[in-house]
């Protein structure tokens, strides 16, 4: 009964839980407090992996949308849609945890002059448009095509936006990974890497879970339609007989 997306879901879920437990243990019992920011730097181990995985999810959804447009296979549209959906949920977490960090570090919940914050908000709001666009179209074929075009264009915008922010070179927002990838000390770097792997595993698990549920719901809908059609045909045959 399990479709292709439901396969190995249990192992993904168990692996994600184990990796999350490992990441949290490293964050609170292994990684030292940051010399500059102190204990609040621990927020970064949840905030930054969520941001990286969410942005990666948006780009991945764009790639899936390209596959949908090239092959016409609607399963790629479903994958793209669910990937965007989970990325938006993580995006909500990024914005809230970022605001909490900003309040603790800068004394303000939001700083409009900071390009990293504002650019992430722009990306987030851009993807919020995806839902009204998708669900304003009733025809499934057109819905899939238009959503895919949006996902491709918006997915291409994400790395461009990231590069533009890097070029802006504001030093207010701390850089977790420098261009050489070496700005974190050893214990903090290991913790950060485990946190990113754990967040990625959680993301894949949630995407697989939601695709499995949506596929099951669609199969039930199709089955119900077939049963209703069969019942109508039987009734007409009885009337004719």
């Amino acid at each position: 009964m399990a479709g292709p997306h439901g396969r190995n879901l249990r192992w993904w879920a168990l692996g994600s839980a184990a990796l999350m437990a490992a990441a949290l243990s490293l964050v609170f019992f292994y990684a030292p407090n940051d010399a500059d920011q102190g204990f609040i730097q621990k927020i970064f181990y949840v905030h930054v992996p969520m941001a990286i995985v969410a942005l990666g999810g948006f780009v991945a959804a764009g790639v899936m949308a390209i596959k949908h447009l090239r092959t016409g296979d609607r399963v790629w549209d479903l994958r793209s849609y669910v990937t965007i959906h989970i990325s938006i949920i993580l995006g909500v977490g990024v914005l809230i945890t970022g605001s909490i960090w900003a309040r603790a570090s800068w004394g303000k919940w939001w700083v409009w002059e900071e390009p990293v914050l504002v650019s992430f908000l722009i990306v987030f709001l851009l993807y919020c448009v995806y839902y009204p666009l998708r669900f304003s179209i009733e025809d499934p074929g057109r819905q899939g095509r238009y959503s895919s075009v949006f996902a491709v264009v918006a997915g291409a915008f994400v790395p461009l936006n990231f590069m533009a922010v890097r070029l802006a070179e504001s030093y207010t927002h701390p850089r977790v990974l420098s261009q050489t990838g070496g700005s974190l000390p050893g214990e903090q770097r290991l913790t950060f890497i485990v946190a990113i792997v754990a967040m990625t595993a959680l993301f894949v698990t949630l995407v697989k879970l939601e695709i499995t549920a949506k596929s099951a719901a669609m199969r039930i809908k199709r089955l119900r339609a077939r049963m209703e059609r069969a019942a109508e045909e039987r009734e007409s045959a009885l009337v004719a007989g």
Binding site: F39, I40, V46, L209, A217
Partner: protein, 52 residues
């Protein structure tokens, strides 16, 4: 800005991790409700198939 004392910083850290856990729990609860609906639909289909 100097680093916040542990008791004050702890509240912010707990808040941030609490937000993450809450998001995941809310998502899982919503998915649980969806699965319940799917289960109900399946039960109804089984009943219809039994009537045939």
């Amino acid at each position: 800005m100097p680093a916040l004392p542990l008791d004050e910083a702890g509240r912010y850290v707990a808040g941030a991790y609490g937000v993450f856990v809450t998001l995941i729990l809310v998502y899982v609860a919503i998915m649980g409700a969806k699965l319940q609906r799917i289960d109900n639909d399946l039960a109804e289909l089984e009943r219809l198939a039994g009537e045939d």
